[in-house]
């Protein structure tokens, strides 16, 4: 939790970078995560692969398939996180994924595994607040952040229930849709972030459809964090095992844009 709260600097937005764990193979993910950090990512989102990624667009779907076809197991994801924590004691890492792989052995098992692997927070796509007891209680009991998602369909009446018991940061999904396809209009992002920040002291990070340094810079002027996923995953899809330097250069272009935005 401390690592997460310290990772949002006061003078600029944080860069949150997503990759799917085990893509293209579990052995390659460590190098790719290092490239994210070298490129200037402040927070790492490590995706747990799932056979049925219902909220993801084609790019991340393909990454899930590449990872699973390479034989990635939950144990591999936890090993990747553990080794990352040894190499990068100060960079927060959150696991992002779907309910079934996270809860199949029971929520307490997963919470313990997160603690043992040095995971700072969890984003579960398909556990809304209505089903929070399926996972949230166990994570909070072990002080693992429960990072909630707000979307364009989350209205003012619903927002307080999402903010209640949220921790780490608030992830604003800026488009009603799946990952990687459309991008939201800057005006709608500004309006939404203002609305969210009025309701919480948590940092607000904005994602879905962010691809260019210019977009990242625009969002970083109004939000506490910028999340980029599909665009990085596509580089891994293109270069495979050799993606490291390409990922680093791309992430650096985002990071530089964010650092000079304010």
């Amino acid at each position: 939790m401390t690592r997460l709260s310290q990772s949002f600097p006061a003078d600029r937005a944080a860069l949150v970078a997503f990759v799917t764990g085990g893509d293209p193979t579990p052995a390659d993910t460590g190098t790719i995560l290092d490239a994210l950090v070298e490129g200037g990512a402040d927070i790492i989102e490590l995706g747990m692969p799932f056979t049925d990624p219902m909220a993801d667009g084609p790019s991340i779907q393909e990454a899930n398939i590449r990872s699973l076809n390479a034989g990635t197991k939950t144990a591999d994801i936890l090993t990747i996180a553990t080794e990352f924590r040894e190499r990068h004691p100060n960079t927060p890492l959150v696991l992002m994924g779907y309910a079934n792989p996270m809860t199949i052995r029971g929520p307490e098992w997963f919470a313990d595994a997160c603690v043992a692997a040095g995971v700072d927070g969890v984003i579960c796509v398909d556990i809304p607040v209505e089903e929070d007891d399926s996972l949230g209680d166990a994570l909070r009991a072990k002080e693992v952040a429960v990072i909630r998602l707000a979307t364009p369909t989350t209205d003012a009446k619903r927002l307080p229930s999402i903010l209640n018991n949220a921790s780490g940061f608030l992830y604003y999904v800026s488009v009603a849709g799946i990952t990687g396809l459309q991008q939201a209009a800057q005006a709608s992002i500004e309006e939404a972030v203002a609305r969210l920040k009025a309701g919480t002291d948590l940092p607000v990070a904005v994602g879905f459809g962010v691809r260019t340094p210019e977009q990242a810079a625009d969002i970083s002027r109004v939000a506490d964090g910028v999340v980029v996923g599909s665009a990085i995953v596509e580089i891994i899809g293109k270069y495979g095992k050799d993606a490291g330097p390409h990922v680093r250069d791309y992430v650096k272009s985002l990071s530089d844009a964010i650092r000079s935005a304010r």
């Binding site: 799932f50 309910a99 398909d126 399926s134 707000a150 979307t151 369909t153 459309q182």
Partner: protein, 427 residues
């Protein structure tokens, strides 16, 4: 000749009352959409407001006599309900030939294959399209496996003037070509889904992805009693017309209830529709029949027999999955049963012990398919062929005066190509 089932509003009042006796099996789900530990609303935040809104509109519809009236009128005059209750004398006699002395139960069928569009799927589609209209939605999406739900959805969309998009696995499109043509004739757009195993579960993933990007104007007509709350409940309620009619018809015809109900289960909508109105009749036993595919030790689609509890497609239920919670690919010769999950109420009914579940292989289903053709002059779909195989298995163990009622939930015209191929015949 047959007693009409009670009107929809009254049925709903029975099903949703919260003051049922503690021993009732008919008061599920709870207000969070949970059937015991199963069910629930495991969806992305973008969809949550929408399914809460759907629930609100469904509750309003349940207490609106005009909704019930329109639903009942369409079932009677468009679908052709009530469907007949039929004593299958030919099959009964055939089964008795192999039965021990005094054994060989009477076999009765609920003839839901005689519905408009040829399966039970239309009952639910009528209910959901009326909800879509009520909610002011302007377009419809659906997933389909065998194509029966796709055809039923395309049918009601044509009838009510809604643009319709059907997501269907590319593998299923290959083995259900006649239904693709039917859907297109009815004006629907059929979108092939190539992700994953390119079957029903992947079609459902793609429909959910599409829905999340079109929440404001789109209604998703889910075809089985699964998915996020309130879908399992409302699909069950719409399909319960099957069991309500059957119960009244049995009492009218022979003044007693059946000893055993049998229905095939993919997601489980025809089975829950038949079973639910009988759940509080303790003398009536029930058997749900899953698809054992090539065998339970090989590729199959029997989530209860060969799976464990997990979360997929908006609900917690029994799933075919590995130890990491990755979903396994299902297999059944019947595209309509080829799904690695099952409706959450069945998971609950299994754990509560009220309903028994068994499974039938591809080969057993094919034998039953041919048996019914020969003994009754009825070509069943491959889905109820699984139920018929289980019926013949059970009938020889039961006394001659006992009664089995099975749901003949679909007709077999769509399956003749698959069956011909399996039998090594060219058409």
């Amino acid at each position: 000749m047959w007693t009409e089932s009670p009107p929809f509003a009254k049925r709903c009042a029975i099903m949703t009352k919260t003051t049922n006796s503690p021993n009732s099996y008919r008061n599920q789900p709870d207000e969070r959409g949970h059937f015991g530990e199963f069910g629930g609303r495991y969806v992305a935040e973008t969809l949550m407001p929408l399914i809460l809104d759907l629930e609100k509109h469904y509750r309003a519809a349940q207490s609106d006599p005009a909704f019930a009236e329109e639903f009942d009128d369409l079932l009677a005059n468009y679908v052709g309900r009530p469907s007949p209750l039929y004593y299958a004398e030919g099959l009964t006699e055939e089964v008795r030939k192999d039965a021990p002395e005094g054994k060989g139960a009477q076999i009765w069928f609920k003839r839901d294959e005689l519905n408009h569009t040829g399966a039970h799927k239309i009952n639910n589609c009528i209910g959901q399209i009326l909800l879509a209209k009520r909610m002011g939605k302007t377009r419809i999406i659906a997933e389909t496996g065998a194509g029966q739900h796709g055809v039923a959805t395309a049918t009601v969309c044509a009838r009510f003037g809604f643009p319709c998009t059907i997501f269907m696995g590319a593998t299923d499109i290959e083995r259900q070509k006649p239904n693709i043509f039917r859907m297109r004739l009815l004006g629907a757009e059929v979108v092939p889904v190539t992700s994953g195993s390119a079957t029903l579960k992947d079609a459902m993933n793609e429909a959910l992805r599409h829905w999340v990007a079109h929440v404001h104007d789109t209604f998703y007509i889910i075809g089985t009693a699964a998915g996020p709350h309130p879908y399992p409940e409302l699909v069950r309620d719409f399909q319960s017309v099957i069991g309500k009619e059957a119960r009244a018809q049995m009492l009218e015809r022979i003044d007693r209830l059946p000893d055993l109900l049998v229905a095939a289960i993919g997601g489980g909508s025809n089975a829950i529709g038949l079973f639910h109105p009988f759940l509080d009749d303790p003398e009536v036993k029930m058997l749900g029949v899953e698809a054992a595919g090539h065998g339970l030790d090989k590729e199959h689609a029997a989530s209860l027999a060969g799976g464990g509890p997990g979360i997929l497609h908006g609900n917690k239920t029994y799933l075919l999955q590995d130890e990491d919670g990755q979903i396994d690919e299902a297999h059944s010769i019947s595209a309509g049963l080829d799904y690695p999950g099952i409706g959450p109420e069945h998971s609950w009914l299994k754990e509560s012990g009220r309903v028994d579940y068994d499974s039938v292989t591809d080969i057993e289903a094919l034998d039953a398919f041919q048996l019914l053709c020969r003994t009754e002059g009825i070509i069943p779909a491959l889905e109820p062929s699984h139920a018929i195989a289980a019926v013949t298995r059970e009938a020889v163990k039961m006394d001659r005066e006992q009664i089995i009622l099975a749901n003949l939930c679909g007709r077999g015209d769509k399956d003749i190509f698959t069956v011909a191929e399996a039998l090594g015949t060219e058409i």
